[in-house]
């Protein structure tokens, strides 16, 4: 099952996917030209996401039921670490990230000596970004700055690159979308050195439909308050 490439330590790409049959094939084609180690965590999809990912040559780890993106990410990171990953990259399944951005993240880590590289949509001009989404994201950034003290320009971007050590030190407990804030809180707490890297995002009708709406941000806020209260 595992090709020789996959046995060697190296960068693993972790893709959490829930009902992404329409996009996952294209995403994996784009990635696998250069990156042989890709694990798709099929988060209990009811469509053919898992099968398509397997046919496209990725490793597929399947949750029996839908748990949420945070849980899927942690499963994928655990898998990558067990496969002796030297670096772990988290990547969205809906096709909004550019595979070429991963090279930019790698370069940024190498040149800065940081532990984590974070993709930022706000370091590039993004004329296609819908106004409402821009406002929501800006609010999330402001809240994250307040909460963690990290001077970031983007807060809920799924594109990240961790060194092995950083991936081991960050544990995601939030099963849902609040994991993005949780990761940043962990970076601030450890503390881990981080660097932001401009990352262009393709807003297609498909990815916009799948993305985080304004109503969902209320749920994220609630999850975070619950986590803060019970910790």
């Amino acid at each position: 099952m595992f090709t020789r490439e996959r046995r060697k330590p190296g960068l693993w790409v972790v893709i959490p996917a829930y009902n992404e049959a329409g996009a996952i094939g294209g995403v994996l084609r784009g990635l696998r030209e250069r990156l042989p180690r890709v694990v798709v965590v099929d988060d209990g999809s009811s469509d053919r996401t898992g099968e398509i990912a397997l046919e496209s040559g990725a490793v597929v780890v399947r949750h029996a039921i839908n748990l949420g993106q945070g849980a899927a990410l942690q499963t994928g990171i655990d898998y990558a670490l067990a496969r002796k990953a030297s670096h772990v990259c988290t990547f969205d399944a809906d096709g909004q990230h550019d595979p070429a951005s991963i090279a930019a993240l790698e370069a940024a880590l190498a040149s800065s000596g940081a532990d984590v590289a974070l993709g930022s949509r706000f370091l590039v001009s993004a004329p296609q970004m819908p106004a409402l989404r821009r406002v929501t994201l800006r609010a999330a950034v402001a809240l994250t700055r307040l909460q963690t003290g990290l001077q970031l320009t983007d807060a809920h971007n799924g594109l990240r690159l961790f060194t092995r050590d950083a991936a081991e030190r960050i544990r995601i407990h939030q099963p849902g979308m609040a994991h993005a804030s949780e990761i940043l809180a962990a970076i601030a707490r450890e503390p881990l050195r981080y660097v932001e890297v401009p990352a262009r995002v393709a807003y297609t009708a498909y990815s916009l439909g799948k993305g985080q709406g304004v109503t969902n941000s209320v749920k994220i806020l609630f999850d975070l308050m619950y986590a803060a209260w019970t910790r």
């Binding site: 099952m1 399947r62 949750h63 748990l67 499963t75 898998y79």
Partner: protein, 104 residues
């Protein structure tokens, strides 16, 4: 008539509580609620008497306030229990997923 119906309901509730394993504090709360419920049915003026002591005015209002607070505690209790079980479920599903992946 209504008194016996209420008493019957309270006794059923008591049996329901007794048949489920509750934590010490929850059991104490449930039994306290049960006792107050029985007292208010047996002595209808007790609620009025207690309301006047705490400055509420009407016995019915006092009962409603207690019911609201009790309800909030019950909801919070269920919510926290749900969250704990959610974490356990997540741990099981993730463990199983990783084990299956290793087998392949």
């Amino acid at each position: 008539m209504i008194g016996s119906i209420l008493l019957f309901a309270i006794i059923v509730f008591g049996m329901y509580v007794a048949s489920h394993r509750l934590g010490g504090l929850q059991l104490l709360g449930a039994l306290g609620l049960l006792g107050v419920g029985i007292a208010f049915v047996v002595w209808p003026n007790a609620a009025q008497w207690a309301a006047e002591r705490v400055g509420v005015g009407r016995g019915a209002d006092l009962v409603i306030y207690f019911a609201i607070v009790g309800g909030l505690f019950a909801v919070a209790n269920f919510y926290f229990r749900f969250k704990r079980q959610e974490q356990q479920l997540i741990a099981i599903v993730r463990e199983q997923a990783l084990r299956n992946a290793r087998l392949r």
